[in-house]
Symmetry: C2
Subunit: 351 residues, 2 copies
């Protein structure tokens, strides 16, 4: 899922997103709640009409943004108190409000509020946040039953599984969450300071304890190689700002490995970003032109690299889907990873 | 002609420009000469291939940018000395270099180098700049005959008519320029401090003295109402940064008059920017959404307002062309102007 934080995927129109192969995108409850406000979006028919996107939208619950953007956010049993990054106004996000806002937005998939914690952290605090997440999940799900999104259809409800850095706690939390009446699961609180090896041990522990007949979504990851590792763990859905954020820094993902368009080696290059990509940027423009646009600060550079990177990610997961259908995922992942690593490896994860 | 200063019209792709009705665009010799350099563009096949634009391109000569961007630019008979705004390097623009660069770019229409002056100015200095412009025009045209653009086809050559603030001098310069072997004429040095009334008196003096069988291009203007006034004076071609620059400031031109999307009156508006426009922005998005994007600093706002404004300008001149064909221009202009003025008038001219 490309990330459309503020109700737009950085410079792309709905038709660009369809052309990239995007089927579902993510929008951030936290940002839209503060600006332009969820009530305004509801009054205009919901987020699909607001951003003119007629395919599925998943909204997160806002919990991650509140806790990661606000050092002074105060967690109580009732919810999280924080100050708006826009005007400093005191805000209070509860499980109930998170679902109210998402119902206003009218996303197809709404996510319960969780209490995410950074790692490393002492065991008691991890247990505490996990138990609170379970209680907030129950409150979120209960509230959601009372709400009516614009248009009147039912939202799918995904419950977030936390559990900190302990695989046993992750497994327990997954099992207890799986017992709740929800349509799918989001695995949260990963890639928050732990090693990559630990990330996958924890993701696998949670994924294996979740029922195979409901989708599993790994929140906030990752690089192209992360996606393949996640898929191998049984993950069905991902979201990540890497393709869009890195595009603005001049970084393009390609089948030949990542490249930075600022590099002087591209100054006279008449090659496309990625010769095996069919996006508009690769069909029309040379690296030399895109480098010129980027250095000149032209927004067409951001737009074209964003379109390309989103297309690259969608092409990657499409190929993985086909490999799964052929029963051939591990061979595909091995071959892609070897070629990708050889050509410059995996870019650093987002901060 | 939308302005593609650095080889791109602010966020738009070639297909966006075609959809807007754009037939010919302008690129700035000054900017492209300094970055990425005209030799690089030639080596990649010329500006059409570089920016993937397969319709006509007009390049200016760089003279206006050099003199307007550089207070310390030094004019001698040989040319203009200035320092690059990018790295401070000393540069020298002569009539010959202006044509060399434009041949490298491979534009369809190249423009001769002129000596533009601000108004008001004493008569002797106006005469002096006019005479120098004529000598530079002859040198430019002579040089152009020796050049071969990438692709090998001949560029059309437009000669700039100066003449300062004196209609008689304007007329004389136009007549003497018309005697030269060129394909069309550019009227320069207007909208540089004089009143609008004076602008039109001077433009008309020049236009009437130019032969009717070669195109007349009024440089650097103007507002929608300016275009109608210019067409009434016999002007065939215009370029202006207003539609693209104002878009970035949230200003949209509409058939109901100009509007600023930041205005809180649009916060909950489910109307398009312009109900009589068929561009993608008007087909898909409400004012409320575009306002949200603009306030959130999202580049889709700039892209959509740019697309709309360029479409508005193209629609305006298309309607004027049809009115001319019907023999009905003055009625059309009168009706458009009355409606447009009534709904908020003409926005201020660019600085």
């Amino acid at each position: 899922m490309p990330v459309g934080t503020q109700g737009t995927v950085k410079g792309l129109t709905p038709s660009d997103l369809r052309a990239s192969g995007t089927r579902v995108l993510l929008a951030n409850t936290y940002h839209l709640m503060l600006r332009p406000g969820s009530e305004l979006i509801r009054s205009l028919g919901g987020l699909h009409r607001f951003m003119a996107w007629d395919r599925p939208i998943l909204t997160d619950s806002g919990g991650y943004q509140v806790l990661s953007l606000h050092e002074l956010a105060k967690v109580t049993e009732e919810g999280v108190e924080f100050r708006s990054h826009l005007d400093g106004a005191l805000e209070f996000l509860t499980p109930e409000r998170a679902m109210d806002v998402q119902a206003d937005l009218g996303s197809d998939i709404a996510v319960t509020l969780d209490h995410a914690v950074p790692l490393p952290l002492e065991a008691a605090a991890q247990r505490d946040a996990g138990e609170r997440t379970l209680r907030w999940t129950e409150r979120s799900l209960r509230r959601a039953l009372t709400l009516e999104p614009p248009g009147g259809y039912r939202q799918l409800l995904f419950a977030i599984v936390q559990g900190g850095g302990d695989p046993a706690l992750r497994r327990e939390m997954a099992e207890r969450t799986a017992a709740l009446a929800c349509d799918g699961f989001a695995i949260g609180g990963l890639s928050v300071g732990e090693s990559k090896e630990t990330t996958w041990r924890l993701a696998r522990a949670a994924a294996e304890a979740l029922p195979a007949d409901r989708p599993r979504y790994l929140m906030g990851m990752g690089t192209p190689l992360d996606l393949l590792d996640g898929i191998a763990c049984g993950i069905d859905l991902f979201d990540c700002v890497l393709p869009t954020r890195n595009a603005r820094n001049g970084m393009a993902f390609t089948s030949e490995g990542p490249l930075n368009i600022r590099n002087s080696g591209h100054a006279r290059s008449d090659r496309p970003l990625d010769p095996s990509c069919s996006c508009e940027a690769c069909a029309l423009f040379t690296r030399a032109y895109l480098r010129h646009l980027h250095l000149a600060g032209e927004i067409l550079a951001h737009r074209m690299l964003t379109l390309h990177n989103v297309t690259f990610y969608q092409t990657l997961v499409q190929a993985a889907r086909r490999a799964i259908e052929r029963g051939d995922l591990s061979a595909y992942a091995r071959e892609f990873s070897a070629r990708y690593r050889e050509r410059g490896g995996d870019p650093p994860a987002p901060p």
